[in-house]
């Protein structure tokens, strides 16, 4: 499976990764070769095989509806690059100029 340059750019956009032209080219090659290798999975007939949703036996796991003390606000904000009034600060615009 060979990836086009546009596809690589599209995936990088979906994944919010800024790539240099160099990187786009390199990844295009590398991802293509990995995906080609992965194509061998098509050899196998899996029409009757269920996907693995868990390697462990089926069971249920729930939590009771009982509250627990919250993390203190200052602990949450400790690692924040930018904060203001106990909230995380981010740029105003969602997208940059198009």
């Amino acid at each position: 499976m060979s990836l086009s340059r546009e596809e690589v750019i599209h995936i990088a956009k979906l994944a919010r990764l800024e790539l240099s032209d160099n990187e786009i080219e390199r990844y295009q090659q590398q991802l293509s070769s990995i995906l080609e290798y992965a194509d061998r999975l098509k050899e196998l007939n899996t029409s009757q095989i269920p996907p693995t949703s868990s390697v462990l036996p089926a069971r249920s796991r729930f939590r009771d509806d009982v509250p627990v003390e919250s993390l203190p606000t200052d602990k949450l904000l400790k690692n924040a690059p930018q904060s203001e009034k106990d909230q995380f600060k981010v740029p105003p615009a969602l997208e940059g100029p198009q």
Partner: protein, 482 residues
């Protein structure tokens, strides 16, 4: 000019009223809390945190599924819905995709248009699925501030088919949904507090056609009125466009409440690719028959069912039945009173609609919290029926019982509130009043017969309301005409 019909589908997000969030033990309700005080590593997506499912969330979903006649899947899975947004801490929302908690279902909604025939609108439900809410963004000049208190609050998303045909119907659906959610006790369903959120999909087509035209999506409508107004405006716009021969584009529109207009939102170049896959950190929800039956034990009669039953079995008018099934506590109160009273349900209905409803609203508490129990109300009505007290005494008794919590008959006895029908006692008082009011007596005799009301009022006052007013009037008239 072609006649068009509107095709409307609604996507609602329902905030469940569990104590804790869906995937962590933070409180679910933080409406009044300062920002970022109701958070933990899980709901803020800190590295290394893992979700754990709140059992109560599933239980409430089962109640809604039953109420909407939906099919609970024996195995349902959570899925990651992947997208980036500042208020979405993990960069994905844990939701459900291919196997949601329930599929299918319907609501048969009675419609009573002001000018026209009553009818039932059959609304199909596509699916309902569980998901977590995101955080809140506050826009400030030059920046956005993010608060994660709301992150992780449990939501049920319920999607209807394109079955609604007017803005009125859409509003009515939300009203019925809100009523149902409160009836089942699974959500406060207050749209202003975002407990119930709604997006509308709107298209139009020539009446009688069977195809579906491109639809627009309306967002940011925060009240039932706004939903109605926005949909109405969009139907109008689409009609004008179609009449002018233009095609409808699949825009996403945002409702501007202040301006009362719909604005086109930034168009997304392509459909978002959410890359759903099964959530590996959570197990499948196994809905066994056993568990479902345990949850549904004691499942109540639903408001629309009860409304029909009140009309059918109690012979109540639709107006009464609607009010008496508006809210569950009052509805149960009414029915218990009827069963205790054993008389004409309409009589009970009147007392409830006029007096109990007001009492409950003023006190701001549900009917089951009243000290004036259904049994006590039934007693009061019986006391009035039997002539022991008159109606106005009965009305006063309501307050007295509520304040003291004591049985009506006891209060009547202690305060001597029993109606005086005894002729002689009334005669005595009438004579007294006549003697003390020579001017009024003269006026009456001169022909101002409307003064009878005043006279009776005086007698009632003198007898502290205990006289039977009909008898007092008869006697007073008799004596005045002598």
């Amino acid at each position: 000019m072609t006649e068009y019909e509107a095709i409307i589908g609604l996507e609602t997000h329902i905030q469940l009223n569990t104590t804790t969030k869906i995937f962590c033990s933070c409180k679910a309700d933080s409406w009044f809390d300062p920002p970022n005080t109701n958070i933990c590593p899980v709901c803020t997506g800190l590295p290394g945190a893992l979700p754990t499912l709140n059992k109560a969330v599933v239980e409430k979903a089962v109640l809604l599924a039953k109420a909407m006649h939906a099919n609970l899947l024996p195995l349902s899975y959570f899925a990651r819905k992947n997208y980036f947004y500042p208020d979405l801490p993990k960069g994905y929302q844990i939701s459900q995709y291919d196997k949601p908690i329930a599929v299918g279902g319907f609501l048969d909604m009675p419609m009573n248009p002001a000018n026209g025939q009553s009818y039932i609108r059959h609304i199909t439900i596509d699916n309902m699925h569980l998901e977590e809410d995101a955080g809140k963004t506050r826009n400030e000049p030059g920046r956005r501030l993010i608060d994660f208190n709301r992150c992780g609050v449990p939501l049920i998303e319920m999607v209807t088919g394109p079955d609604l045909r007017s803005a009125d119907e859409a509003a009515q659906y939300l009203i019925r949904l809100r009523q149902l959610l409160r009836w089942l006790g699974i959500s406060e369903a207050d749209m202003e507090k975002a407990h119930l959120r709604c997006d509308a999909n709107v298209s139009i087509r020539p009446k009688g056609a069977s195809h579906l035209n491109p639809k627009t999506e309306i967002k940011n409508v925060n009240s039932i009125d706004a939903v109605k107004e926005a949909i109405g405006k969009e139907i109008e716009r689409q009609t004008n466009e179609m009449e002018a021969g233009h095609k409808i584009e699949t825009w996403t529109l945002e409702w501007d409440e202040d301006a009362g207009v719909l604005r086109k939102m930034r168009s997304k170049e392509t459909e978002a690719d959410y890359r759903y896959f099964r959530e590996p950190d959570l197990l499948a929800i196994r809905m066994t028959d056993e568990w479902r039956n345990a949850i549904l034990e004691g499942f109540p009669e639903l408001p629309l069912e009860r409304r029909a039953r009140f009309i059918e079995d109690y012979g109540l008018p639709e107006y009464d039945a609607e009010i008496l099934t508006g809210e569950r506590s009052l509805s149960d109160y009414f029915e218990t009173t009827v069963k205790t009273y054993k008389g004409d349900p309409k009589r009970v209905s009147n007392w409830i609609m006029n007096d109990i409803l007001r009492m409950v609203n003023e006190a701001g508490k549900p009917a089951y919290e009243l000290k004036l129990t259904p049994a006590f109300l039934a007693e009061i009505i019986q006391l009035v029926d039997s002539g022991t007290i008159n109606t106005s005494t009965g009305k006063n008794l309501l307050g007295k019982v509520e304040t003291s919590g004591r049985a009506p008959s006891k209060i009547v006895e202690e305060e001597g509130l029993a109606k005086v029908s005894d002729d002689s006692a009334i005669r005595e008082v009438c004579a007294k009043i006549m003697a003390a009011s020579p001017n009024e007596t003269a006026s009456y005799k001169a022909g101002k017969v409307t003064l009878i009301g005043w006279f009776v009022g005086q007698v009632m006052k003198e007898m502290r309301g205990k006289a039977d007013p009909q008898i007092a009037r008869k006697i007073m008239e008799e004596m005045l005409s002598q």
